[in-house]
């Protein structure tokens, strides 16, 4: 990808605090959630920390670079091995 992005895992109770105009994601419906729905991932252009994180309205569970985000998304907590049991 040509853009450099920063990533954060956010606990689901913070959903109402997310300002989608400041991140790449566009709505609650298009977020990627952890399989147990307790967390979701967001991303933004490097160097443009969303104000809702900067001012402490939302405290990320963790912030990551792309490589770290991919590693986390590949875990069984985020990706089912056999989504249809086949």
């Amino acid at each position: 990808m040509s853009r450099t992005l920063e990533y954060a895992i956010i606990n689901t109770p913070y959903l109402g605090e997310i300002d989608f105009s400041q991140i790449c994601e566009t709505s609650l419906n298009t977020l990627r959630y952890k399989l147990d729905d307790t967390q979701f991932i967001i991303k933004w252009d490097e160097g443009h920390l969303p104000t809702f994180i900067e001012d402490g309205s939302v405290t990320p569970f963790v912030t990551m670079n792309h490589e770290q985000a991919l590693e986390l998304m590949a875990t069984s907590a985020w990706t089912p091995t056999d989504p249809d049991g086949e």
Binding site: L70, D84, E86
Partner: protein
């Protein structure tokens, strides 16, 4: 890689037709990027003879990821699911129709995948066929019904049902056919590793051809359908065209 593919296609009459260029593919970051059409995809509902062909490049072949899918009311109709570097499933019409194991894929490498379905074959195991890089029918377990069902859902690239199982990598020159392509057809599309104008190959049934941004100038958030009328017109998050193509 910013190299493009430029081929001058010469018609059988000897008159040079419009040139074919392949400079872009559609790229997904593996976290929550995907793209889909916003209308229901009905092209292959109820058909007995269908095929697809796609070029794909995975950033990390150890991931579990879906390259494309159709999922919605009525459940799954279609997906291409890579289970790490150990398994490749093609699901179509209510079940896994082809499960291939045994190919070792490489990171950041372009592959061409072709699938053909012929529900008229008397033996279930003879109905689906899967081809990689224009080669012979892959080994695996396979079978399927005489015709596909009817599904009410959109067509998605990267992942399934929104932000689930997204891929990290690129797709290019994605085509859907309402005919059963032969091994020779997929080999012609593979063209020794260089995409070409598939509409000029004389293969019948080309219903949709999404060029990965080449007929959209490599910009924007719509991937037009070069032959049909089903555009991929919703790009989630950071999904974008990229100057990275098979060569």
């Amino acid at each position: 890689m910013a190299l493009g593919t430029k081929l001058g296609i010469v018609a059988s009459s000897g008159v040079a037709a419009a040139s074919f260029e392949n400079d872009y593919s559609i790229a997904f970051d593996g976290t929550d990027d995907y793209a889909n059409g916003t209308a229901n995809f009905t092209t292959w509902n109820g058909l007995a003879n269908v095929s697809f062909n796609v070029w794909f490049k995975r950033d990390n072949v150890t991931r579990n990821e879906m390259l494309m899918s159709q999922y919605g009311t009525g459940g799954n109709n279609f997906y291409i699911y890579c289970v790490g570097n150990a398994r490749l499933d093609v699901y179509l019409g209510g079940g896994v129709r082809y499960r291939h194991t045994g190919t070792t894929f490489a990171n950041n490498t372009w592959y061409n995948l072709g699938f053909s379905y012929d529900g008229s074959q008397g033996t279930s195991a003879n109905r689906p066929s899967l081809y990689l890089n224009g080669g012979s029918r892959l080994a695996g377990t396979f079978g399927g019904p005489t015709a596909l069902g009817t599904y009410t859902s959109d067509f998605q690239m990267s992942g399934r049902d929104g932000a689930t199982l997204e891929m990290a990598g690129n797709l290019d020159e994605i085509s859907i056919w309402t005919s059963t392509l032969t091994e020779a057809n997929h080999n012609a599309i593979y063209n020794s590793g260089t995409p070409l104008d598939i509409s000029a190959l004389g293969i019948s049934g080309l219903a949709h051809w999404w060029r990965g941004g080449d007929n959209n100038g490599g910009t924007g958030t719509t991937m037009s359908d070069a032959v049909g009328s089903y555009s991929i017109n919703y790009f989630n998050d950071n999904t974008a065209f990229e100057a990275d193509v098979p060569t």
